[in-house]
Symmetry: C2
Amino acid sequence: MREKRALDRIDQNILSVLQTEGRITNQQLAEKVNLSPSSCLARVRKLEEDRCIESYHAQLNLERLCRYITCVAMVSLGQHRQEDFRTFERFVKTLDEVVQCDTVSGGCDFIVRIVCADMERYHEVNEMLLNSGTNVVNIKTHVVMSETKPFSKYPLDDLLQ
Amino acid sequence: MREKRALDRIDQNILSVLQTEGRITNQQLAEKVNLSPSSCLARVRKLEEDRCIESYHAQLNLERLCRYITCVAMVSLGQHRQEDFRTFERFVKTLDEVVQCDTVSGGCDFIVRIVCADMERYHEVNEMLLNSGTNVVNIKTHVVMSETKPFSKYPLDDLLQ
DNA sequence: AATATCGCCGAATTTAATTTCGTAGGACAA
DNA sequence: TTGTCCTACGAAATTAAATTCGGCGATATT
């Protein structure tokens, strides 16, 4: 299935609800979208099979669990051969403390989000990015002071028609 | 409860599992962490009450649902009074297409992640950020070419002890 | 119009969540 | 050491949810 999935309004509603209430019971979901539990479950299963729904996650509140810092690093490579990109991408995937990485256009090549215990540890991670055969020549770091608007959902209403 | 919650190994395991399998049944979870279903459920409820677990979410695969672009905008304010920050923060929370915003130190004041239908729409959102009484003087945009490592979980093993 | 297809509903069944309750083990004071 | 309190556990019972399945009606197809 290469094509975008054709979603009707009910599917959109299901996705919207599950984005925000990932652990809602099927019965409650069915009620919200005005379906019987069996039909609702069938649709959810289909959305999962088609991988419109990728997975389900608990959102943890790190504040309550431990001390930590978040940094956003703007990483530039020395050369822009496909091989250089691949090497870097492969490397960041192995680092648990790199929680997110995007390849971007603009003033740098990658934007890397790092969550680690403290600044000392961040320096270590930084060194690892610089010295790992990945051809990194520059890292500009932004320390996150406050997660003003944490990610919670995509704007489905804006994106779907 | 201002203090960090004291977590034993079992709690850590529960959180790790739920981060990745947010919709696992309590029975399966209990088996994974070597508890009876009732004890396991009691722990999960406690973690929820203490807001160590914030919420549950379905992770959608936007690729399969619609056309869209993701941009990361580095936003700088003209002045740095608390009031200026507040105004901007309040504003981005009202924009659905701003899916994430961090207040940061470094070369800019905010890092804003925007998901919208296309570049034309992104320009509109950009204008909204510039013209909204929020004292924005500069926006540097990075277009996301590829989500190399999408966020999926925090590195609990590194952060907890 | 006859037939096939699809998605829905509701009933029945299987499975899971939740509650209840008795007990074991650790901390602590006498 | 002994007794008491406290916490958390697991087993069993109960309640609720998930899942399966047969049949119905709408729509499309020939």
